[in-house]
């Protein structure tokens, strides 16, 4: 088993040599200027106000929490995946006799219990990403026609912009008459 990981170690050291060689070569060759403009934080030409380290929303925490739970679940499911097959072949009989279907049911219960957690988060709305929207929800117009000025609203308008409208209504009426 050591040899398997030793080769990984050799591979990693090759990678490290490559990366550091590049970094060192670049640090020798690249120009070193002390122009301070380049060191400013990029904000599309605006001057930066304050630090970037701000408080982040708790939803990230929720997501990470659910991730932890499911990461643990998946770590347990890998042995489960192996056991189902092994017990079929009869090799698992040494450890537990014919545990295939038994393990299957257990796995189902395990998944179901943790799915309850996901369902809880889901129902409570913690998976909805748009939360901090404190204004009343946007109500789409019930019909598109409401956006278009009707004859009634135009007649009720003040004088200064009703001339064109009056022409419109007159033409409409003439068309209707025709």
């Amino acid at each position: 088993m050591y040899f398997d990981y030793l080769t990984v170690l050799i591979f990693a050291s090759v990678g490290l040599v490559f990366v550091f060689a590049n970094l060192i070569i670049a640090s020798v060759l690249r120009p070193k200027r002390t122009v301070t403009e380049g060191l400013e934080i990029y904000e599309c030409g605006e001057e930066t106000i304050g630090e970037a380290w701000v408080r982040f929303d708790i939803r990230y925490y929720t997501v990470a929490l659910v991730y932890v739970i499911f990461a643990v679940e998946i770590a347990f499911l890998f042995p489960w995946a192996i056991v189902l097959r092994e017990s079929l072949l009869g090799e698992g009989a040494a450890a537990g006799l014919g545990i295939g279907v038994f393990a299957l049911v257990e796995g189902f219960v395990f998944i179901a219990i943790l799915f309850l957690g996901l369902a809880y988060v889901w129902v409570k709305g913690d998976l909805d990403w748009v939360l901090t929207y404190s204004a009343p929800a946007y109500q789409p117009p019930t019909s598109r026609m409401r956006a278009i000025p009707t004859v009634d609203t135009l007649e009720g308008d003040s004088e200064d912009d009703s001339e064109d409208a009056a022409e419109d209504t007159s033409t409409d009426e003439s068309e209707d008459a025709a």
Binding site: M1, D57, T62, V68, A75, I82, E86, A103, I113, K124
Partner: protein
């Protein structure tokens, strides 16, 4: 070679662990802890526990440390120095912590020196598959240790819901404060 690797990894694990406590920036603390976990995982690998090493990386280094990072992001980092200057230092918690850990260390040394904890003599060469053939691990989890396994699932569920209830209560009270402002 193994001895050398073991000491190297143990020393780095301990150094990182000390770094977690000593470093002032919480971000660096989290990274130190990550380094400590990775070193631990490699020690597990060294003694032939592949599944344990992978689970350590997947669950602790991969998931729980991300959670910690998000918690650090959730805190207001500019207030960190305020935490260090807080009157809580008056309690002398640093001294108490040092005394407690020293006592624990002395206790452990006494246990080992007294011979009540002994290294297993039968450990020989590590088999090619490692010690934890995953089939046997699975067979044990799903037969003999079935109840602890399901209990762990319940524990996880309870943890998640508990934490979310606490977190959401805070957020609801915060949003109440916010929602009162435009009303006035």
């Amino acid at each position: 070679m193994e001895q050398f690797l073991f000491f190297l990894l143990s020393l780095s694990a301990i150094a990182f662990a000390v770094g977690v406590v000593v470093v002032k920036s919480p971000m660096k603390s989290v990274l130190s802890l990550l380094g400590s976990f990775v070193a631990l995982a490699m020690i597990y690998l060294l003694i032939g526990f592949q599944f344990l090493a992978a689970a350590q990386l997947l669950v602790y280094a991969g998931a729980i440390m991300v959670l910690f990072l998000f918690v650090v992001m959730l805190l207001n980092l500019s207030d960190v120095n305020a935490v260090f200057d807080a009157p809580i230092r008056v309690l002398g918690q640093k001294r108490i912590a040092i005394a407690a850990s020293a006592a624990a260390l002395i206790g452990m040394i006494a246990l080992f020196a007294g011979g009540s904890v002994q290294a297993s003599e039968s450990v020989g060469a590590i088999p090619a598959e490692g010690y934890d053939q995953i089939e046997y691990l699975g067979a044990l989890i799903f037969s003999r240790y079935m109840i602890p396994f399901q209990a762990s699932a319940l524990l996880l569920l309870a943890t998640m819901i508990g934490v979310l209830v606490l977190a959401k209560r805070r957020r609801d009270s915060a949003s109440d404060v916010n929602s009162e402002e435009p009303a006035q």
